[in-house]
């Protein structure tokens, strides 16, 4: 029944049984956190608290506390927003697109990748909220009957499309994630010994029983959600890119933005998954499930999307020259050789050159190299957004209003705060949630488990 070619590498290493998978996945939840966890958690918490402090200062005083000026009206806030949203693309891509393609290797990484997605989108959402200046009026972005003359939102605006795209993406991803989590919460519930734990997981698991009819619906729902989430994930960064592309700023007003942004988002999202999972597999002893092969597969995706991003950068330069538009040409000349040349150079090196190293099998199967590269890629992607946003704005049509942007401690604090918040959420998740979709993983044990593969070989 469960045969697969010997040429395919096993996805589950070691002599594992169904029970072993259960125990391995439940172990981090049932065990106790050690000092190291507390140490890292405290660090993240401190960064988060600092972030809350400067956010409160921003709300109380106004966004004049940021480094924005008359010329550069969008800078770190939107850079960080796009960066976090981009990172939040890998999770749904792994769980939805790879499900449709029946890629079995997604199964041991999709849960954490989706968690990362959701936590990243939470960080992203903070930035437009703060930039509003009056976050308590944030509900004004939704079309609701009101007494302000019953004035409606503007459905022609890409910023409103963004509201709909991000909120749909966030809520659908969360639901997709939770539907998959329910059977795994049930597993932890059924193993729990302490009454308090059992009670919590009983609530979280919604009384899951594992009946045949429920599993049948479960699989159908997963498939349909994957089919819905696939165009959704592509639409989100497309619409984010339209925030720029529908305006008439040289350097922004280009039709290449949607595919270019989507590729960049997948690129950075996978890099963040690598960063987190390389640590997590070690910390919670899941090396048998998140194998070198998984890391290699993700590296190949990083290489591919990195190359697409590289082609997009070069196409942009070509189009600036080919268009014959003086302002467009200057915008790109200024990016590469103007006062922000260092940001452009970092972007080019980190995003275009570094992923090409993945052509070497030795490098893409090296854990240490992958980890370092994943951080380089995410730094590069931050610079990409910074370059697109700030260098396009800082020299406008009127040379007398040319200016530079320098972040204040509040800008930096909010960014560091969101990184802290992200890690606080992820560390809490790693201690309380089943970090691998164990129910799904069990379905491929017989076809892709190392011991099973050996068994068939000798038959």
């Amino acid at each position: 029944m469960h045969y697969e070619s010997d040429i395919r590498e096993p996805l589950i290493l070691g002599d594992k049984s169904y029970g072993d998978i259960t125990r391995d996945v439940a172990a981090p939840v049932e065990g106790k956190a050690n000092k190291m966890w507390w140490f890292v958690f405290s660090l993240a918490l401190i960064a988060f608290l600092w972030g809350i402090g400067v956010m409160a200062y921003t709300v109380g005083t106004g966004i004049g506390t940021w480094g924005l000026n008359k010329t550069v009206g969008w800078a770190w806030d939107i850079t960080n927003f796009v960066w976090w949203v981009g990172i939040g693309h890998a999770g749904t891509l792994i769980s939805a697109v790879l499900l449709l393609f029946r890629q079995k290797w997604r199964m041991s990484i999709n849960r954490s990748a989706e968690a990362m997605t959701i936590f990243a989108v939470v960080q992203a959402a903070l930035f437009p909220l703060l930039h509003m200046g009056r976050p308590w009026l944030a509900y004004w972005v939704f079309p609701f009957p009101n007494n302000f003359g019953s004035l409606w939102v503007n459905f022609n605006s890409p910023l409103l499309w963004d509201v709909f795209a991000i909120s749909t993406y966030f809520s659908v991803s969360t639901v997709f994630w939770y539907v998959g989590l329910i059977p795994d919460f049930a597993m932890i519930r059924d193993r729990a010994v302490k009454p308090f734990q059992k009670h919590i997981y009983k609530i979280m698991s919604f009384g899951w029983s594992g009946k045949a009819k429920h599993w049948q619906r479960f699989e159908e729902v997963s498939l349909v959600l994957a089919g819905l989430a696939t165009p959704l994930v592509l639409s989100v960064h497309t619409i984010v890119s339209m925030d720029f592309a529908t305006s008439v700023i040289p350097g922004w007003h280009t039709t290449i933005f949607p595919p270019y942004f989507v590729a960049g988002a997948i690129f950075s999202g996978f890099a963040m998954v690598q960063t987190l999972l390389i640590i997590m597999r070690k910390v919670v002893s899941l090396e048998s499930y998140i194998t070198i092969q998984h890391i290699e597969m993700m590296n190949i995706v990083i290489m591919l999307t990195g190359s697409i991003v590289g082609v997009a950068y070069i196409t942009e330069l070509f189009m600036a020259w080919y268009s014959g538009v003086e302002y467009e040409q200057y915008a790109f000349l200024n990016r590469a050789t103007g006062p922000y040349w260092w940001a452009y150079l970092s972007m080019m090196t980190f995003n275009v050159v570094s992923p090409q190293l993945m052509w070497f099998k030795k490098l893409r199967t090296s854990i240490m190299f992958t980890f370092v590269l994943s951080i380089i890629v995410n730094t590069g992607m931050w610079f990409e957004r910074f370059v697109i946003i700030v260098t396009s704005l800082h020299r406008d049509y009127l040379p007398s209003s040319w200016s530079m942007f320098s972040p204040t401690y509040v800008d930096i604090g909010i960014f560091v705060g969101t990184i802290g918040f992200f890690f606080v959420l992820f560390l809490l998740y790693a201690r309380t949630f089943p970090v691998i979709a164990q129910a799904e993983l069990k379905t491929i044990l017989k076809s892709s488990g190392e011991n099973q593969k050996k068994l068939h070989k000798h038959e």
């Binding site: 469960h2 259960t22 125990r23 172990a27 981090p28 049932e30 065990g31 106790k32 956190a33 050690n34 190291m36 140490f39 890292v40 079309p143 019953s150 004035l151 409606w152 459905f155 022609n156 749909t168 809520s171 659908v172 059977p183 049930a186 597993m187 059924d190 193993r191 009983k202 609530i203 698991s205 919604f206 009384g207 899951w208 029983s209 594992g210 009946k211 045949a212 009819k213 599993w215 049948q216 619906r217 159908e220 729902v221 349909v224 819905l228 959704l232 639409s235 960063t275 640590i279 070690k282 919670v284 951080i375 007398s400 972040p407 204040t408 990184i419 129910a439 069990k442 379905t443 017989k446």
Partner: protein, 371 residues
């Protein structure tokens, strides 16, 4: 006869599948199978009907699409049409392209969320629901067939045993095993997290030093003269820049010298004449512009019954009809377009003077058709 609850427990999914087939072959109906993970083909082997939840999702998606179409039509076209960037704004179809992102997102939103609600509802899953599986091991590595059986069950029990059941029970069993491992984080990981946060947070320093320490020929760098537009105590008006000479105009601007007063209105009415001749082409352009900039209030016929008037957003918009406004000429229409009148604002920043004259031509055409 009392009913029996028979549980056959298996430790392998393939053996369970064979067991399900064997039991069904002998004519027994299986009441339930509990498994720790989805097993492909089990639903067919048990004789379960295929689920129809995907059809439900399709219907929810169609609802989402229709809802979004209605939402955008009602808010942007029907209730409060707005002139946004000088684009046509009176029909939904012409605006639909700008609404597609919203329509797509709401389709996905409804299809996904309502389907999941249906899934929870049909499965009776909700927070606080009691665990539905009789044996906790069925979420771990055990597979269980459940029969609610009346009569002699010895044959069924023996079929279960023959097909490989490791346990056949009439009672529920409770068994929990705890296995605890330590949660370890290697020190290198902590160092690397540090590296990550410092790398990203220190990419721009707080107060970068922009000016070099020495400047060659500072007189050339730092102007001794006043900057343009700065205050200048010796200047004529206390500022560096001078007020432009009288009658200076900006490029491309056509001056309009009649003042925004009642006398000015009368002057425009009496003596202002259009510099452009009325042709089919100018009338067509005038109609096009009118249908974007004026239609929401003045209405397509110029009867003052635009959508915003009909919806009572603005009141008191007059009809162009000679009976209501007996005394208007193309000069007075141009004057009003330029300066606005009463509730109406100036349209000089949105329409050039050439365009305003063309709109005036269309207004006169509408007026001739009204009574």
């Amino acid at each position: 006869m009392s009913k029996k609850l028979i549980h056959g427990l298996f430790d392998d999914d393939d053996i369970l599948m064979d067991g399900v087939k064997a039991v069904r072959q002998k004519g027994y109906e299986i009441d339930e199978v509990y498994t720790p993970f989805p097993i492909h083909g089990l639903d067919k082997a048990m004789g379960l009907k295929p689920t129809r939840i995907a059809y439900a999702s399709f219907a929810y998606g169609v609802f989402g699409l229709l809802f979004a179409s209605w939402l955008t039509w009602y808010m942007m076209i029907s209730d409060w049409p707005q002139n946004i960037g000088g684009k046509p704004n009176q029909t939904w179809l012409q605006n639909m392209l700008a609404f597609t992102p919203i329509m797509f997102e709401l389709t996905v939103f409804m299809a996904a969320h309502l389907m999941v609600w249906t899934y929870f509802f049909k499965n009776k899953l909700y927070p606080g629901q009691k665990a539905g599986n009789p044996d906790p091991r069925t979420t771990d590595d055990m597979f269980m067939m459940e029969f609610i059986f009346e009569g002699d069950s010895t044959e069924l029990e023996s079929i279960l045993k023959e097909s490989g059941a490791v346990e056949v029970n009439v009672k529920e069993i409770k068994d929990t095993t705890g296995n605890q491992l330590w949660f370890k984080i290697p020190k290198t990981a902590v160092v690397l997290i540090f590296a990550l946060s410092s790398l990203t947070s220190c990419s721009s320093s707080d107060e970068p030093q922009r000016e070099p320490n020495t400047v060659y020929m500072p007189d050339m760098y730092y102007s001794v003269a006043y900057e343009p537009y700065s205050a200048d105590p010796n200047g004529v008006d206390g500022m560096e820049a001078r007020i432009p000479a009288d009658n200076t105009i900006k490029r491309g601007y056509v001056p309009y010298e009649i003042p925004d007063t009642n006398e000015g209105y009368q002057e425009a009415l009496d003596s202002l004449k259009s510099p452009i001749a009325t042709t089919d082409e100018t009338l067509k352009k005038g109609e096009y512009l009118y249908n974007i900039y004026c239609i929401s209030c003045h209405g397509i016929n110029g009867d003052g019954q635009g959508k915003l008037v009909q919806n009572e957003k603005y009141l008191g918009v007059p009809s162009y009809a000679p009976s209501r406004l007996p005394n208007i000429t193309e000069g007075s229409i141009f004057h009003v377009e330029t300066y606005g009148k009463n509730m109406m604002g100036s349209h000089a920043s949105q329409l050039t003077s050439q365009e305003r004259w063309k709109v005036a031509q269309h207004v006169l055409k509408l007026r001739s058709q009204l009574k």
